[in-house]
Structures are given as structure tokens and as C-alpha cells.
């Protein structure tokens, strides 16, 4: 037993040693031997690129050289990392590695000569070189056999660990990589290496680093099929290599890096997708001005429940008939399980619907200029097809909408149905990335805060609460009390005295006022914010400064507070009224709730005068509430920064 386990250990050691050698000799994606941790590996990898950014930019048309340089950089990095003793013994291998690399880059032009983006793509799935000779004993060996402590479990554990390590190295060694030519929005191109494990998100991050763009959430990888005249964005969670490997060898397809505001439109304006009352004009107007908090609660409702809610979407679309250039109008409905249509002579009840397509194996694309190509009724077309299909086929479904708005609704709806919560997660990651990026730029150079920023501003505004737990909670809290208000309202109840439970009415979570004063009183709040929180919003906050460079504080764009709107119903405006009192119809004013801080009772006084009024309308209330809240504890580092920036600007000008 003892002997055999020793054998095993030894074999592991040799195995691991080989692996190490292998990975190192590959020269790319080198890992520090003791910690084979993929994410970190990626990090290292990108660092390698970062150093070379300048040279890359300079040599843009000669991407190959740049890539080559990358490779070499990687290798040298690996070199540094290796232990001295090792260096000598393995120098030969490094040498051969760089040879390999240059071979590779020499071969690459074949793939790239033909303006082919990702495909021609030198695809080097490295075959494992024959195992080197046995005596590699001076390599850093894995921990010595656990014999002294030898309990069987421990052994097993150690064994498992080692095997895991071995497997990971094996995988590492076999990672497939593609060189992808990405077309930038300024008609230039960049080539970058994408490995098999990278998601679109990783590639985007990579590109952000290379391009120094503003990193906002609208940036996306975009694939275009010139032959079919269709295009779509990569979803952030999609595996890039996987998608690209569906392309044929001689394809004209391209990958673009550009901004598309459609990508996450639903998260910026959920009301356009979830609350659209088909075609009614008045609703359109009201939709536009939904405030940030309502948006957030709508999103939460739609994406954070046990199951996500797919927007209700139905209407007549044109369907291209198989193999013909004629289009037939049919009534389609979107459901979580697929797209359905109403067969002739049937109603649109669930039981009559016929399934048109399910989303498991199809991707959705925008069709461009199909009016010309296929005689579509309009140019607002979308296309559903299996990702592997690259040529005209009866298995591609073409649909055509009446207008752009409908098109966007359908495409987004289908994406929501297909990807579900993943889409929302992607968005949150994108926002986090964007937020981080803008924070960095802000920190870095004041002037570089750049005109591009304002566009990210509002996005941050709506989004950061979702990533920021306490703040989200606070907002929800505010909403909570809002929701309650109507409830506490006066049920006309002629007979029954409310006496028995009236006192309890002070128990429900306190009206917002209490919250805001709480937060403003909290020690953590910066003094300035306290001012806004307690002092009241009407005094035009500094957000009203002309919009130039530094982005205004986060929430502002969502809450343009034209004073007129605030003022019109004065009683409602009473700053932080305890709506529950007003709500009780003044039957009795509950004793001021035990804990409220001083201001509350004061501000409560005016309300009995308007006692018969319905409770504070939630909407009105929120508007004042939010700036206060924003000024209060929810302030995050970023908005602080921005404010500081702004102030500085103000002083300067």
C-alpha cells in the first residue's frame, strides 16, 4: 500500500512537472505554477497587453507585428516569473516557444490577407508535444507525499487536488485561441487574440483597455453577415470563439466594436417595453417621463422575481414565405415559451395559438435593407435562425414590423424570453464596468473627465442602486412607504369607529420623512449631503449648472425638477409629511411615533389642515424624496467625486 501510493505520488509529480513544462513552452497564458486559477490567468494576460498599448496603437495596420509582440511579451513575462534554477534547464524550451510563436505569426497573414475577420484565423489548438525526457526532477515539485499524516481521506483529498490541478493544466494546454479582427467605429481595425474561454464581456473589457473609450454600457461586439444582410450584438455572456466557429471558412462576416443603444434599452427605459399600451399616443408621452425609482421597481418586478416577466407583446407582423419574396401578414404573440401566431379563423386565446418558433436554438438578428433584398414591406425586419446557418435557407425566418419602435420591442422581447435573467446580469456587469471606468477617469485627470461622460451619467444613476445593496434597500424602503399610503387611505366607514386599531397605525413602517431625516442624521453622511437632505430640495441644487463636462450628480437627469411642477399642489408639497396621518383622514392624529427625530412632528402639523385630502400622491412625493435621499446616506463615492468636481468647475468659471 505504502509503496504503491508512493508510486502514485511520484507519477503525479512527473505528470505535473510535464504539465508545467508544457504550459510554459506554449508561452501563452502562462500561469504561475502554484496557482492555476483561470480568472487570474486572464488578468495576467491582459496586463501583458496593456504594456503594449502604445505600440499597438502605433502599429495598427500591422497588427500582426503587434500580436507577435504580445506573444513575446507573454513569454518574457513568464520568463520573469520562473524560478532561477528552472531557468537554465528550460531555456531551450523557451527558445523553441518563441520559435513557435514566430512561426505562427508567419502563418497568420494567410488568414488575414483577405479582409477576413475572425475566420482565416490561425487557430492553433496546440497538440501536446511529446512528453519530455524523464529527468526533470529539479522542477518545483508538488508538495511531498502526505505520508507522515497519512490518513486515507487526506490522501484521497490530496490526490483529488492534484488531479484537479493536472486536469486544469491539461485544459490550459489545450486552450484554443483565435485571432479576431475587430472593426472599430472609425473604420480602423484591431486584431486581438481571443481564447476559447473568453466571453463577449471579456473581449469588450479587453477592447476598452485598448481603445480608451468611455466604457459605457452601449458598447458591444456586433456581428454582421453581409451575405444575408443580417446583424446582431453578441450578448455579453456568449462565448466568442464558439460563435465565431460557426462561421464558414471563406465568410465575409465581420465583427464590429461599436455603440448600440438598443443593447440595453430595456433597462434604461423599461416602461417602453413593459408598459406600452400599443399605439395609444397619450401613453407614449407619459412613458417618457417615468422616474428612476419607478423604473427600478419595474425592473425589479420583471427581472428579480422567481421567474422573469417577458413583456406582453402581440401584433400583426409580416412573415416572409419560405423561398418566396412574398410577405404574409399574420398576428403574432410573444410568450416566454416562444413566438406564436393566430391561425386563420381562430382567436388569440392560448389554446388556439400555433407555435411559430421556440428560442432554444435560434438567435435573433436585425435584417438590414431587406426591403430591397427581399421586397419586405418595410425596412424594420428581424430574422431568426440557427447560429450555424450561414447561407440562405428555408430554415431562416424573416419577419417584418411596421415601424422601428415595434421592431425594437420585438427584438428586445425575444432576447428577454431567450436569455432571461442573464440579460439583466450582463447589464449589471456592464454598468459596474462603466462605473468603474468613469471613476478611474475621474480620479486620473480632472480634465479628462471628458464630454463623453454625460452619457454614462444617467445610466449610472439608474443602475448603481442595483449593485449597491444598502442603497437599493433604502429605495425600496421609500417605495414601501409610498405603497402604503394609498392603503391607509380613508375607507369610508360610516359605522365603525376605527378606535381599536387606530393607534396601531403608527406602527407601519414610518413615512419617508422619518427615513430621510434618519439618513441625513447618520454620521456617515458627508456634511454637504446632509445639507441637501435636511434642507429641502427647492433651493436649486447645484445640479442646475449648465451641463458641461463633469457629469451632474447621478439622479438629476431623471428628476428634472422644474419647480413649477412641484409647486402646483402646495399641500402635497409640504416637505416631509407623515402621510399616514393625513391618510387617516384626520380621524385622529396618532401620537407622533416614538422614535422620529425632531423635525417630523413639526412638519406633521400642517397636514391636519389638509386632513381631508387624500394621502400624498406617491409620485409627487418621490420627486422631492429622491434628491433628499440621494443627498443622504445613499451617496456613493462616485457622486461625491462628481460633486466635488462640479464645484471646482463652478469656482473656476
Amino acid at each position: 500500500m505504502g509503496e504503491s501510493s508512493e508510486d502514485i505520488d511520484q507519477m503525479f509529480s512527473t505528470l505535473l512537472g510535464e504539465m508545467d513544462l508544457l504550459t510554459q513552452s506554449l508561452g501563452v497564458d502562462t500561469l504561475p505554477p502554484p496557482d492555476p486559477n483561470p480568472p487570474r490567468a486572464e488578468f495576467n494576460y491582459s496586463v501583458g497587453f496593456k504594456d503594449l498599448n502604445e505600440s499597438l496603437n502605433a502599429l495598427e495596420d500591422q497588427d500582426l507585428e503587434a500580436l507577435m509582440a504580445d506573444l513575446v511579451a507573454d513569454i518574457s513575462e513568464a520568463e520573469q516569473r520562473t524560478i532561477q534554477a528552472q531557468k537554465e534547464s528550460s531555456q531551450n524550451q523557451y527558445h523553441s516557444a518563441s520559435l513557435q510563436a514566430s512561426n505562427f505569426s508567419g502563418a497568420a497573414p494567410l488568414g488575414h490577407g483577405t479582409n477576413v475577420a475572425a475566420t482565416g484565423i490561425s487557430q492553433y489548438e496546440d497538440d501536446l508535444p511529446p512528453p519530455p525526457a524523464d529527468p526533470v526532477l529539479d522542477l518545483p515539485l508538488p508538495p511531498p507525499p502526505p505520508e507522515p499524516l497519512s490518513q486515507e481521506e487526506e490522501e484521497a483529498q490530496a490526490k483529488a487536488d492534484k488531479i484537479k490541478l493536472a486536469l486544469e493544466k491539461l485544459k490550459e494546454a489545450k486552450v484554443k485561441k483565435l485571432v479576431v479582427k475587430v472593426h472599430m467605429d472609425d473604420n480602423s481595425t484591431k486584431s486581438l487574440m481571443v481564447d476559447e474561454r473568453q466571453l463577449a464581456r471579456d473581449v469588450l473589457d479587453n477592447l476598452f483597455e485598448k481603445t480608451h473609450c468611455d466604457c459605457n454600457v452601449d458598447w458591444c461586439l456586433y456581428e454582421i453577415y453581409p451575405e444575408l444582410q443580417i446583424e446582431r450584438f453578441f450578448e455579453d455572456h456568449e462565448n466568442v470563439v464558439e460563435v465565431l466557429s460557426d462561421w464558414t471558412r471563406d465568410t465575409e462576416n465581420k465583427v464590429l466594436f461599436l455603440q448600440k443603444e438598443e443593447k440595453y434599452a430595456v433597462f434604461k427605459n423599461p416602461q417602453n417595453f413593459y408598459l406600452d399600451n400599443r399605439g395609444k399616443k397619450e401613453s407614449k408621452e407619459t412613458n417618457e417621463k417615468m422616474n428612476a425609482k419607478n423604473k427600478e421597481s419595474l425592473l425589479e418586478e420583471s427581472f428579480c422575481g422567481t421567474s422573469i416577466i417577458v413583456p406582453e407583446l402581440e401584433g400583426a407582423l409580416y412573415l416572409k414565405e419560405d423561398g418566396k419574396k412574398s410577405w404574409k401578414r399574420r398576428y403574432f404573440l410573444l410568450r416566454a415559451s416562444g413566438i406564436y401566431y393566430v391561425p386563420k379563423g381562430k382567436t388569440k386565446t392560448s389554446r388556439d395559438l400555433a407555435c411559430f418558433i421556440q428560442f432554444e436554438n435560434v438567435n435573433i438578428y436585425y435584417g438590414t435593407q431587406h426591403k430591397m433584398k427581399y421586397k419586405a414591406p418595410t425596412d424594420y425586419c428581424f430574422v431568426l435562425k440557427h447560429p450555424q446557418i450561414q447561407k440562405e435557407s428555408q430554415y431562416i425566418k424573416y419577419l417584418c414590423c411596421d415601424d422601428a419602435r415595434t421592431l425594437n420591442q420585438w427584438v428586445m422581447g425575444i432576447r428577454i424570453a431567450k436569455y432571461g435573467k442573464t440579460l439583466y446580469d450582463n447589464y449589471q456587469r456592464a454598468v459596474a464596468k462603466a462605473g468603474l471606468a468613469s471613476r478611474w477617469t475621474n480620479l486620473g485627470t480632472v480634465n479628462a473627465a471628458a464630454p463623453a461622460q454625460p452619457s454614462t451619467g444617467p445610466i449610472n444613476g439608474t443602475a448603481s442602486p442595483m449593485t449597491d445593496a444598502p442603497r437599493a434597500a433604502a429605495q425600496r424602503h421609500a417605495e414601501t412607504s409610498k405603497d402604503k399610503k394609498p392603503a391607509l387611505g380613508n375607507h369610508h366607514d360610516p359605522a365603525a369607529p376605527r378606535a381599536p386599531h387606530a393607534p396601531k397605525s403608527s406602527l407601519p413602517p414610518p413615512p419617508p420623512v422619518r427615513k430621510s431625516s434618519d439618513t441625513s442624521g447618520s454620521p456617515a453622511t458627508p456634511p454637504k449631503a446632509k445639507g441637501t437632505g435636511g434642507g429641502g430640495f427647492p433651493s436649486p441644487p447645484d445640479d442646475f449648472l449648465p451641463p458641461p463636462p463633469p457629469p451632474p450628480p447621478l439622479e438629476d437627469p431623471e428628476l428634472p425638477p422644474p419647480p413649477a411642477e412641484f409647486m402646483e399642489p402646495p399641500p402635497d408639497f409640504v416637505p416631509p409629511p407623515p402621510p399616514s396621518c393625513a391618510g387617516n383622514g384626520g380621524l385622529e392624529l396618532p401620537p407622533p411615533p416614538p422614535p422620529p427625530p425632531a423635525p417630523a412632528p413639526d412638519s406633521a402639523r400642517p397636514s391636519p389642515a389638509v386632513a381631508k385630502r387624500p394621502p400624498m400622491p406617491p409620485k409627487r412625493h418621490e420627486n422631492p424624496g429622491t434628491p433628499g435621499g440621494a443627498g443622504g446616506g445613499e451617496q456613493d463615492f462616485m457622486s461625491d467625486l462628481m460633486k466635488a468636481l462640479q464645484k471646482k468647475r463652478g469656482n473656476v468659471s
Binding site: I163, S307, A336, Q388, T480, L488, H491
Partner: protein, 664 residues
């Protein structure tokens, strides 16, 4: 002290005689007569009653019920005067907790003791605590529908009645977990069985029964159910419920907070059951494709719960798969073989090779199936004219990567074991039919194709279970679906097999034959075959929640100014006005835009004000306006829940939002 007398026997204080019946509202019951004054406290009266009865018994649960006022006298420090009780009051001294029979969401009956004196909200909370269902605010009780007396001849078979009436929960403390169930269930075999009933999905119902059960045929039928909800701010006694009555326990509010398979086995199961019955009884409509998914999930869930395989099935984590495979591989190989072999063995993937008949439909071909040597390795299928031909990779053969095969479409009937593959290629889809000789061969190839379509190889540990699942389904089809003439068709023939009719709503029973249904369910099943029991239940619930009509409670109302009845749908975030005749949505209002609502109890009208001065008023036709009011308030209450607060309930808030029409 009441009852002071003179020597002549006249009472000199203002005391009077109070008669109290002992027992539960039974006029024949024994009674005691006490001498009291208006100043006597209820507590004192209780004491006297017990003294007079003079029986050794635990009286702690007893209290006085005042019949005329329909009120419990629970404030022991109040005096009779304060309650306004005079000598003519009919008082009953009885237990506050009485047995009722609960009809659970899974349609099983359970006897337990419910509080007849607390507001229903609290009573339900107590019941849920006993059943270990979290978030009792989502549930409520309904009156059982009146039995139609006309057909007495068909005596319903005695059904099993589970009994929890003797189980008493210690107050306050969260029930501890013992042997995988809350401790209070582990007392006896009987209660243990009861817990299994609660926490495990029930087998599919008999299709014949399913056809007999009433189903709503129109929207107005769907409103019927909602007229039976009990009032959550009043106690059972006040609502005329008697001991031993049958009540339905159902999820009332379709807003399920923090559903967690780990901590909520009973809740999850009951929710699943309610969803399933909703679908089977066509309370909620779905499309054919959706029904197949629901059926497949039911089949899967039933299979898992029958086999007792409650835990996670193996093979959920591909990483561990690899590890396991590698470990076992290594252990085998380590006996003195070279390291290169180890490397090889780590990456070796099993393959299938056999002579199969292949058919590729093409335009203008009339060729039928042809014999080919087929090799299936990793996720690639290659075929050759003969075995000799396959020497090098791709030599003379055709290779198809199944890595993204759309649907291995099954077509099984009788002895025809075909697999239809739709293989995507740049030019479109190509169709290929593989024809196997027997079940075994079919199952192996089919399992391989299925895994390949998900990008897995046959090295995946789920391969064996996949083969088993296919074989099981085939046998199911033979028994249940009626093979070609082997068995008489019909549900009764399926003794051990599963009848697909029990998995779908009756209208699909009419539309499809069982043998048409089975392959479609099988097809849907392949997508869910890997789920564990809890996951499958959760998936079922999610699919149910994704239906457009999910979670809408219908009531018939008449809008102010309208002359005809219409339907008001109440969902967790909105109110929907629906045309009664056509079923079209006329208008939707969201709760988030709501400012307030009022109920005028005199004219039974609900008035709601939304933002931008939109006012809506309607009177309720099919249910009382109390029910509508409670629904709206309840949903608003549920929307105030927060994760941070845990399971504490702001009961007062709930009662405020939903009650308020009567003093209590």
C-alpha cells in the same frame, strides 16, 4: 363578590344570573348558571365556570363565545358591563381551537386544529407553521364548494385522511429539524407519513377523474372560486365555520417571496401541486408546446419522487464529472502503465459503432433507408459504406458534427426505432434518420445524440442514466400508450406504466391519442431529464409563472357608468379590465400608479384613484367587495416585504390594508 344575599334569600347587590353553555355552540349542551354583577371580570367568570363544572381538565384553551354578537370575550380584564353583556346573552364556553379538515393544494385532506378565535390571518399563520410552510401571508382559506347532492349513488372512495390534530407546536420557537423533517413530524409513523404527503409531489391523477372534475369553461366560471375566500381579519367562528368543516388551503396571492428549494420543501411542493392542478383543470390556459413541457416535468418529478431520489442526481457539475472520470481512470491505469497512457486515458471518450440504416431525405430522391457503418465519437457522427472503409479520419465517410444538433426528434412506434436528427450546417438544416434494430440499440444511440446536442460526450456521467430514462420511457409507452394492438387502449390498461393522459389537461386528451402524446412528452423530457426534484418543481413553477395569464384572480364587477358586467382581473402588480364576452383586455392599471382606494360598504362600491386623476369605480357582482378590497390590500402588503426583515410579519399593517370595514 357577586351574590350577596339577605337572610331571606334576596340578593342585595345588583347581581344577576348568567347562564353559560359548556361546549361548542350546542343548545342542548350542559350549562352552568353563575351569579354575577356588571362589574365581574371575564377572567373571574371563567374561573367560576370551571369551578362549577368541577371536572379535571385542561381548560386553558377555552373561552367564551357570545352568540348574538358573534364575538369572543377574550379580554379577561374587561367587565361584563364593558362588553355590554346582560342576562339574556347566549354564551358558550368552548375551546378556541377546533378540528377542521383542510383540503391542501395537493388535494389531500388533512385534519388539524385551527384557531377559531384569532383573526384568520393569524390562524393561517399558525397552520402554516404547523405544516412548515414559510410566508403564510401568501395563503388563505376558502370555503369548500357546496357538494352537489344529486348524484349520491357514486359513493366516493374513502380517501386517506391525514391527521395532525394531536400535534401541538410549542409557541414562538422555530421548529427544529430532526431526521430531515421538522421535529414535530417525527413523533410517530403517522405524522411522518403526513410529512411525506406534504413534502413530496403526488402521483398524477387518474385521467378519468380528471375528466370528471369540474373545469371552468369561461371567464365567469373562473370568478366563482374567488367568491369563497374567507375574510382574513375575522375569525373562523365569526364566519360561520364549524368544527369539522372542510376548508381549502390555497396560495391566494401570486407573489411568492424568496422561494428556496432548500428551506421550503413543503411550500415548494404545495405550490407545485397548486400550479399543476391549475393547469390540469384548465384554470389557466397554455399552448400545446407549453403543455408538453409541463407534462414532461410532471413525469420527471413523479419519477423522482417515486424512486425516492430526492437528492441531487449525479452529474450536475461537469467539472466534477471530469474529476470523477479522471479519478477512476487513473486508478485503473495506475497499475504500472506509462504516463502517456494516463494522459490518453484522461481524454479518451467512449464511442458507439454499429451498422445502422440511414435515410437522408433530399429533393428528388426516393431512396429509402440504407445500411451504413456508423461511428459516433465525441459529438460527431460519421458514416461509411462499410466497416472496412473507415480507416482514416473521414475516409470515404460523411461526418456530421452534432455539437449543436437541434432536436433529436423521436419517432417511436411499435418496432420502429428511428431517430430523426436535424443537423445544422451553414447551408441550413439537414435531416437524417437513423433506424435502430431494437430498444437497447436505440436507447444507446439516442442517449448519445441527446448528450451531443447539448455539447456533451458519452463520457459524461449522465450517459447511463440517460439510457435508462429512454428505456423507461419506451416501456411506459408500451404499457400506457398502448402498443400496436398489444393492449386495449384506455387509461385502465396502464397498471404499472404511466398514463400520459394524467399529465395533460383534458382538452389534450381529446385532441391527441396517447401514443401521439408520449413521444412529444419524451421529446420535451430530454431538456429536463437532468433536473433534481426540487429544481424540476421550481422549473415547473417558473414556467407556470411565465404564462401570460398567470396569477390573475378574476371577479365579476360592474364599472360605474357601464351597463354590462365585466371582469376585473387582479394580479400582483396591476388591475385589468377584461371584456366578459370576448376576454380581451380593455385596460390595465398598475398598482404603482395607484394613489388610494376606497370602499363604500353601503353601496358595495370600490373606488380607486390613480395618478393623473384617473378614477375608477365599480361595484362587485360575483364576490363581495370585501374580497376585492382584500386582494388589492393584500398585494400592496406583499409588495412591502423585504428580504432583510426575514419572516417577521407586520400583521397590523396587513389587517389595516385588508380590513377596516368593520370594528374588530
Amino acid at each position: 363578590m357577586a351574590g350577596m344575599k339577605t337572610a331571606s334569600g334576596d340578593y342585595i347587590d345588583s347581581s344577576w344570573e348568567l347562564r353559560v353553555f359548556v361546549g361548542e355552540e350546542d343548545p342542548e349542551a350542559e350549562s352552568v348558571t353563575l351569579r354575577v354583577t356588571g362589574e365581574s371580570h371575564i377572567g373571574g367568570v371563567l374561573l367560576k365556570i370551571v369551578e362549577q363544572i368541577n371536572r379535571k381538565q385542561d381548560w386553558s384553551d377555552h373561552a367564551i363565545w357570545w352568540e348574538q354578537k358573534r364575538q369572543w370575550l377574550l379580554q379577561t380584564h374587561w367587565t361584563l358591563d364593558k362588553y355590554g353583556i346582560l342576562a339574556d346573552a347566549r354564551l358558550f364556553f368552548g375551546p378556541q381551537h377546533r378540528p377542521v379538515i383542510l383540503r391542501l393544494p395537493n388535494r389531500r385532506a388533512l385534519r388539524l386544529r385551527a384557531s377559531f378565535s384569532q383573526p384568520l390571518f393569524q390562524a393561517v399563520a399558525a397552520i402554516c407553521r404547523l405544516l412548515s410552510i414559510r410566508h403564510p401571508e401568501e395563503l388563505s382559506l376558502l370555503r369548500a364548494p357546496e357538494k352537489k347532492e344529486k348524484k349520491k349513488k357514486e359513493k366516493e372512495p374513502e380517501e386517506e385522511l391525514y391527521d395532525l390534530s394531536k400535534v401541538v407546536l410549542a409557541g414562538g420557537v422555530a421548529p427544529a429539524v430532526f431526521r430531515g423533517m421538522p421535529a414535530h413530524f417525527s413523533d410517530s409513523a403517522q405524522t411522518e407519513a403526513c410529512y411525506h404527503m406534504l413534502s413530496r409531489p403526488q402521483p398524477p391523477p387518474d385521467p378519468l377523474l380528471l375528466q370528471r372534475l369540474p373545469r371552468p369553461s369561461s371567464l365567469s366560471d373562473k370568478t366563482q372560486l374567488h367568491s369563497r375566500w374567507l375574510d382574513s381579519s375575522r375569525c373562523l367562528m365569526q364566519q360561520g365555520i364549524k368544527a369539522g368543516d372542510v376548508l381549502w388551503l390555497r396560495f391566494k396571492y401570486y407573489s411568492f417571496f424568496d422561494l428556496d428549494p432548500k428551506t421550503d420543501p413543503v411550500r415548494l411542493t404545495q405550490l407545485y401541486e397548486q400550479a399543476r392542478w391549475d393547469l390540469l383543470l384548465e384554470e389557466i390556459d397554455c399552448t400545446e408546446e407549453e403543455m408538453m413541457v409541463f407534462a414532461a416535468l410532471q413525469y420527471h418529478i413523479n419519477k423522482l419522487s417515486q424512486s425516492g431520489e430526492v437528492g441531487e442526481p449525479a452529474g450536475t457539475d461537469p467539472g466534477l464529472d471530469d474529476l470523477d472520470a479522471a479519478l477512476s481512470n487513473l486508478e485503473v491505469k495506475l497499475e504500472g502503465s506509462a504516463p502517456t497512457d494516463v494522459l490518453d486515458s484522461l481524454t479518451t471518450i467512449p464511442e458507439l459503432k454499429d451498422y445502422l440504416r440511414i435515410f437522408r431525405p433530399r429533393k428528388l430522391t426516393l431512396k429509402g433507408y440504407r445500411q451504413h457503418w456508423v461511428v459516433f465519437k465525441e459529438t460527431t457522427l460519421s458514416y461509411y459504406k462499410s466497416q472496412d472503409e473507415c480507416t482514416g479520419p473521414g475516409a470515404g465517410g460523411v461526418q456530421l458534427s452534432l455539437s449543436l444538433a437541434v432536436v433529436p426528434d423521436v419517432n417511436v412506434s411499435g418496432q420502429k426505432f428511428c431517430i430523426k436528427l436535424l443537423v445544422p450546417s451553414p447551408e441550413g438544416m439537414s435531416e437524417i434518420y437513423l433506424r435502430c434494430q431494437d430498444e437497447q440499440q436505440y436507447a444507446r444511440w439516442m442517449a448519445g445524440c441527446r448528450l451531443a446536442s447539448k455539447g456533451r460526450t458519452m463520457a459524461d456521467s449522465s450517459y447511463a442514466s440517460e439510457v435508462q430514462a429512454i428505456l423507461a420511457f419506451l416501456s411506459l409507452q408500451r404499457t400506457g400508450g398502448g402498443g400496436p394492438g398489444n393492449h386495449p387502449q384506455g387509461p385502465d390498461a396502464s397498471a404499472e406504466g404511466l398514463n400520459p393522459y394524467g399529465l395533460v389537461a383534458p382538452r389534450f386528451q381529446r385532441k391527441f391519442k396517447a401514443k401521439q402524446l408520449t413521444p412529444r412528452i419524451l421529446e420535451a423530457h430530454q431538456n429536463v431529464a437532468q433536473l433534481s426534484l426540487a429544481e424540476a418543481q421550481l422549473r415547473f413553477i417558473q414556467a407556470w409563472q411565465s404564462l401570460p395569464d398567470f396569477g390573475i384572480s378574476y371577479v365579476m364587477v360592474r364599472f360605474k357608468g357601464s351597463r354590462k358586467d365585466e371582469i376585473l382581473g387582479i394580479a400582483n402588480n396591476r388591475l385589468i379590465r377584461i371584456d366578459l364576452a370576448v376576454g380581451d383586455v380593455v385596460k390595465t392599471w398598475r398598482f404603482s400608479n395607484m394613489r388610494q382606494w376606497n370602499v363604500n360598504w353601503d353601496i358595495r362600491q370600490v373606488a380607486i384613484e390613480f395618478d393623473e386623476h384617473i378614477n375608477v369605480a365599480f361595484s362587485c357582482v360575483s364576490a363581495s367587495c370585501r374580497i376585492v378590497h382584500e386582494y388589492i390590500g393584500g398585494y400592496i402588503f406583499l409588495s412591502t416585504r423585504e428580504r432583510a426583515r426575514g419572516e417577521e410579519l407586520d400583521e397590523d399593517l396587513f389587517l389595516q390594508l385588508t380590513g377596516g370595514h368593520e370594528a374588530f
